[in-house]
Amino acid sequence: MLVTYIMSSFIEVRNLEVQYERGKKNIFEKTNSFNAVDNVNFDIQKGKIFGLVGESGSGKSTLGKALLAAKEYHRGSIHYHFQEGMINPNHLPKNLLKLFRSKVQLIFQDPYNSLSPRMTVRDIIAEPLESLGITSSKKETDDRVIEIAQKCQLNINHLNRFPHSFSGGQRQRISIARSLVAKPEFIVADESVAALDVSIQAGILQLLKTIQQEMGLTIMFISHDLSVVANFCDDVAVMYLGKIVELAPTKKLFTDPKHPYTKALFQSIPSIHPDTQTTLQTLEGEIPSIYQKPQGCVFQTRCPIVSSRCKVDQPSMKKHNEHQTACFYST
């Protein structure tokens, strides 16, 4: 045990709770708050790609925002182990926040809305350098922009153009270049390939992987596309109603899923081989509203093997080798 404490992970998330408040209907009503992320624990190792999957409303993006210091968390802790020291992104003082922002960046989902239409590509990519005060001269900024643009396979002769003259795939490359120009150590990619065609998506994934290996980046890859996650990530966490219900190395998770939710998710993925499936297995119903989170196990309302115990007790994460599952009956 001692060894694991000394060999600390790059990012440690412990008992994390992120709350949102629900609007009050009248002034006499008590404020309602609910946990969009509920008692979540995991580690991300340096240089790994950590996948986060789950249906809409499961809290994936909220968790990503908490890691980016874009959303305050309420309870628990997040610790980044940078070379300069440990940083906890909640309530950072201004000087540390700047340092943090240069080390932790986001790649957005929508390559059409995330780039300002009035800025040239050069200015878009240079913006983090200028606003974080990383470079001291225009020449240095230009050099950095050109270096990263080349890495992202953008034509450097087109840097003075505006985003509208680029296709979706190229815009996503611009977006990636902007995220990487400050040389961050950690990237949150939130559905970053969801809006692209498969033929283009494959290129962006390839680019991300190459850059990740070159720069030693650590990535949190949030996606609802399980086939992509299976292909791209080293470890995968499955979220449901704000909780991580299963976490394992990718190969283990996809070849031997333990949690009934994970199993159900996998059975609903269509296979590209026409002869492998006849009907897709489906989960009944939909993910419950976060306001009506059930007592006991969060998955009880849709679980095929639910028992009376699941309606009372909350299963905690059990670790077996590197495979963690939160289910009383996982096999």
């Binding site: 494959a202 086939s227 992509v228 292909n231 590209i272 026409p274 489906t282």
Partner: protein, 322 residues
């Protein structure tokens, strides 16, 4: 039995940059009880093909005089607006990609469904309402007699798409056109919607045109597949033929770039470059700029003919012209 037959569909867009070819010699049939899949990247002409069946394309669309869209022996392209009305929601029905944007936000779902039924059928409001409630129930919306009076924003994404399907099916269409019906949805909801569409096809014996960029979805739904690129059908055949024995280099590349859940460690190979703009349509084969099997002169200068094999599998590529 053939339900709709599309013959030599050629479409040009009249733009400031001239008349640009958007669809080139598109030929296909949809049969009763059959799901026809159309796949290809954005800009390959999938949606334009679907919209031309209902003549919903923009005003600058020019149909070639030899183009035919045949339903019961009649060419729909000769029809005027009034005669097209039944093909926009009654005989043909369409489900759009964005369940968020396809309902009017300020009108109750039920009122929108009743309106559609009353346009196409001579029935009372009461009757139309009952039919709508039935339709909602049949797609698995619980307590539909109450929920019918809600607004679309009160529905989740999955429920909205089901309501969309219910609305499309409430008129008992012969042909359902589904344009990326599950792209915005989670896999679990996607599986529900797909099973629903498959069940309705079986029970009603209607035809479906299923448009998607996701080959895995077609593998699990379609009977036959058309692969489109730059407005041209480059390959067609049964789902099994196209996906297990792809002939066109474009189909092969598309499959190589698609993730495969049964073999998730396989490398994903991107297709270099991008679909050219309509105004940059290449001479010769449309796929030449991105083709890994390009052979030379013929590909650059001559349009490949569509060659049909004995089993009905067709491909338009110079490789097979010997």
């Amino acid at each position: 039995m053939s339900l709709v037959k599309v013959e030599n569909l050629n479409i040009q867009f009249d733009t400031d940059e001239g008349q640009l070819l958007a669809l080139e010699d598109v030929n296909f049939t949809v049969n009763n009880g059959e799901i026809l899949g159309i796949a290809g990247e954005s800009g390959s002409g999938k949606t334009i093909t679907a919209k031309s069946l209902m003549q919903l394309n923009d005003e600058n669309t020019l149909y070639h005089p030899n183009s035919k869209i045949l339903h019961q022996g009649e060419n729909l392209l000769n029809y005027d607006e009034l005669k097209m009305v039944p093909y926009r929601g009654k005989i043909f029905s369409m489900i759009f990609q964005e369940p968020m944007a396809s309902f009017a936000p300020a009108i109750r779902i039920g009122d929108q469904m009743v309106e559609q039924l009353q346009i196409h059928e001579n029935i009372s409001v009461q009757e139309a309402r009952e039919r709508s409630i039935q339709a909602l129930t049949s797609v698995g919306i619980p307590d539909s007699a109450t929920l019918i009076d809600q607004y679309s924003y009160e529905f989740s994404g999955g429920m909205r798409q089901r309501a969309m399907i219910a609305m499309a099916l409430s008129t008992n269409p012969q042909l359902l056109i589904a344009d990326e019906p599950t792209t915005a949805l989670d896999v679990t909801i996607q599986a529900q919607i797909i099973n629903l569409i498959k069940r309705e096809v079986r029970e009603r014996n209607m035809g479906v045109i299923f448009i998607t960029h996701d080959l895995a979805l077609l593998a699990q739904t379609a009977h036959r597949i058309l692969i489109m690129y730059m407005g041209k059908i480059v390959e067609s055949g049964t789902t099994y033929q196209v996906l297990t024995n792809p002939q066109h280099p474009y189909t092969q590349s598309l499959i190589e770039s698609s993730p495969d859940i049964n073999n998730f460690e396989k490398p994903l190979i991107p297709i270099p470059g991008e679909v050219p703009l309509l105004k940059d349509r290449p001479q010769g084969c449309v796929f030449q700029n991105r083709c890994k099997k390009i052979m030379g002169e013929a590909c650059r200068t001559q349009k490949p003919l569509t060659v049909a094999q004995e089993d009905g599998h067709t491909v338009a590529c110079h490789i097979y012209h010997e």
